[in-house]
């Protein structure tokens, strides 16, 4: 049985034309999102994972940003090129987004209830009463205590965890098909993080929602992800089912990322680390963007960007080490 494709991103390139040069923040990203799955985009700061998410709904600042190439296929349309009015109908209704920093994503001068109602009334013709009732149900589902009272609260009256959950409630208000969650748990405490992860898991199983979960934290990927795509230097370097990628990582960057996590269950030994730093987006290395930090670098890596190779049917990797293992090259 082939899982149903909901969203497909093909060779997406979002570049920012700045005074200091062209920042190729997203430089050839490919992935597929199927119904009811949670795809994790994993990577360190500056790798392009957030801009990828923003590009799906064209939410980046333009200028300086521009999608220079590629497609975002959703429901028969190409979101990368479709007219703005059509995209606006999709934003928030079919594809919703939850941002990392709830503090700055909520409007401080409106109550949380007003903001959720606003989102609903943009997309649906229902009365304010009905919209408020729906907002309250949503807050309740998010386990916010006293949801009726929470509706009348201003963002500053809420704790960080509550704001983040209110943001998720807002994202869900039009019952979207796809939810993009950009590091929704980075700014909250571990016990709150556990609550939010629990909510997202329920959405996935209960509503069959497709989720794109953006994170830098591999332990979260293990918890919530079905598949993971590792992003480095603006493109996906490895994609595979989560269990697969954690047990048998192929790309040297993925291997490094997994190894440098302090493992709570192991005895403490010296941590392995990836030498160097993430590359400056203005001066991307030639060839494979990871080659200056790669322990297995070869001559070819310095000059030629590797193509994506399928090492098993579901496990793709972009690395010259694996070119000969190509089972089903595209």
């Amino acid at each position: 049985m082939m899982p149903e494709k909901v969203l497909e991103v093909i060779n997406l390139k979002t570049w920012f034309f700045t005074r200091r040069g062209i920042v190729k923040a997203v430089n050839g990203v490919d992935f597929v999102l199927t119904r009811g799955e949670c795809l994790c985009l994993v990577g360190e700061s500056g790798c392009g994972k957030s801009v990828t998410a923003l590009s799906i709904l064209r939410l980046f600042d333009s200028p300086p940003g521009r999608i220079v190439e590629g497609e975002v296929k959703y429901g028969g349309a190409d979101l990368a090129t479709c007219p703005m009015p059509q995209l606006r109908k999709i934003r928030g209704k079919d594809i919703a987004m939850v941002f990392q920093n709830a503090q700055s994503s909520l409007n401080p001068v409106f109550t949380v209830g007003d903001q959720i109602v606003e989102q609903i009334s943009v997309h649906e013709r229902i009365s304010r009463q009905e919209a408020l009732a729906r907002a309250q149900t949503l807050l309740e589902e998010m386990n916010i205590p006293q949801p009726g009272r929470a509706l009348k609260m201003y963002p500053h009256q809420m704790s960080g965890g509550m704001k983040q959950r209110a943001m998720i409630a807002m994202g869900l208000s039009c019952n979207p098909e796809v939810l993009i969650a950009d590091e929704p748990t980075t700014s909250v405490d571990v016990t709150i993080r556990a609550q939010i992860i629990h909510i997202l898991q329920e959405l996935k199983t209960g509503r069959h929602m497709s989720i794109i979960f953006i994170t830098h934290d591999l332990s979260l990927v293990k918890e919530i992800g079905d598949r993971a795509a590792v992003v480095y230097g603006g493109s996906v370097v490895e994609v595979a089912p989560v269990a697969d990628i954690l047990k048998h990582p192929a790309h040297p960057y993925t291997v490094g990322l997994i190894d440098c996590l302090p493992d709570v269950s192991a005895k403490s030994t010296r941590l392995s680390s990836i030498p160097g730093n993430t590359p400056n987006p203005l001066e991307m290395p030639a060839g494979c963007s990871f080659h200056p930090r790669c322990p297995k670098v070869m001559d070819i890596c310095r000059s030629l960007a590797p193509a994506t190779v399928n090492i098993t049917g579901v496990h793709g990797v972009s690395c010259h080490l694996f070119v000969n293992m190509d089972g089903r090259s595209r």
């Binding site: 700061s45 405490d189 571990v190 709150i192 556990a194 609550q195 990322l257 269950s265």
Partner: protein, 322 residues
């Protein structure tokens, strides 16, 4: 003398007065640190864990008197820290240092890296330019910074390198204790490992003691000898690392441990806490944790439990174990 702990803190309190209105009427007190006692031995790493607002950073600063403690005793190497005058305190701080979370805001953007590190030496009376330069070079080498970085400014560095500069500054006067306040939480994971390794290398070489403040239990497990958990200004559990992770007693510790994914292999039940950390301005009665506790008993909202020793070196404050 050598057997006594390097740092001993007794019943330390730091309250902030909260005022409101035009005439600054006192409307309450935030008990950020509310009666904390702990000790750190020479060369030991004490991990201090807790969620935001639990008072862990304030505790670190109060020990150095960067925040004046409201009450309590701090004894460092036999010296009563609370009673020191400014001059003696400055001298003492060479031996007791702090590394902050955000390397961006703790470095002066208008000072070169070399000058920033040298400043720490100048403050402590080293004025000979030749000696200064030589010691700065040695410090930079110690933390893995190239000597050529001397004349560069902080903005030219990545987060990890900036944190190395922060560590070099802290190491300037060969301290015996470093309070590290979330030193890696602003860093990417691949860089985080570099800094943690560096801190452990320095400890192995120089026999430093750390108080490592963090919200990340996996990092704490990696480098601590003992672990303390704070909740709303109080220590609720304190134990040797092995014991702490094998046999967590306080329900809050249980929940924290179950919230770490990698520690949570199949079979271990996940404990989901409800609600948020309560406001420290108005903490719950009795045991501060009772509002979120999954093992709450009738006594918990009534009586505040004391921190008692359950097994050798294992302290917990919870009515379950009285």
């Amino acid at each position: 003398m050598t057997n006594s702990p390097l740092l001993q803190v007794k019943d330390l309190k730091k309250y902030y007065r909260v005022t409101s209105g035009l005439i600054s009427r006192l409307s309450g007190e935030i008990k950020a640190v509310d009666g904390v006692s702990l000790s750190i031995n020479r060369g030991e790493v004490l991990g201090l864990v807790g969620e935001s607002g639990c008072g862990k950073s304030t505790l670190g600063k109060a020990i150095l008197r960067l925040e004046e403690p409201t009450a309590g005793e701090i004894n460092f190497n036999g010296i009563d820290v609370v009673g020191l005058n400014r001059r003696d305190l400055r001298e003492l701080r060479g031996k007791m240092q702090i590394v902050f979370q955000d390397p961006d805001s703790s470095l002066d953007p208008r000072m070169t890296v070399g000058a920033s590190i040298a400043e720490a030496l100048v403050v402590h009376g080293i004025s000979d330019p030749v000696e200064l330069e030589e010691r700065v070079a040695r410090l930079m080498e110690k933390v893995g910074l190239e000597a050529g970085f001397y004349e560069r400014y902080p903005h030219e560095f990545s987060g990890g390198q900036k944190q190395r500069i922060g560590i070099a500054r802290a190491l300037a006067m060969d301290p015996e204790l470093i309070i590290a306040d979330e030193p890696v939480s602003a860093l990417d994971v691949s860089v985080q490992a570099q800094i943690l390794n560096l801190m452990m290398d320095i400890r192995d070489r120089d026999g430093l003691a750390y108080m490592f403040v963090s919200h990340d239990l996996s990092v704490v497990k990696y480098l601590s000898d003992r672990v303390a958990v704070m909740y709303l200004g109080k220590i609720v559990e304190l134990a040797d690392k092995e014991e702490f992770f094998r046999n967590p007693l306080h329900p809050y510790t249980e929940a924290l441990l179950s919230a770490i994914a990698s520690l949570n292999p199949e079979g271990r039940k996940r404990i989901l806490l409800t609600g948020d950390v309560p406001s420290p301005l108005n903490p719950p009665s009795g045991c501060h944790f009772h509002t979120r506790c999954h093992r709450m008993m009738p006594v918990c909202p009534q009586v505040e439990p004391e921190l008692i020793q359950i097994a050798p070196g294992h302290y917990v404050s919870c009515h379950l174990y009285v």
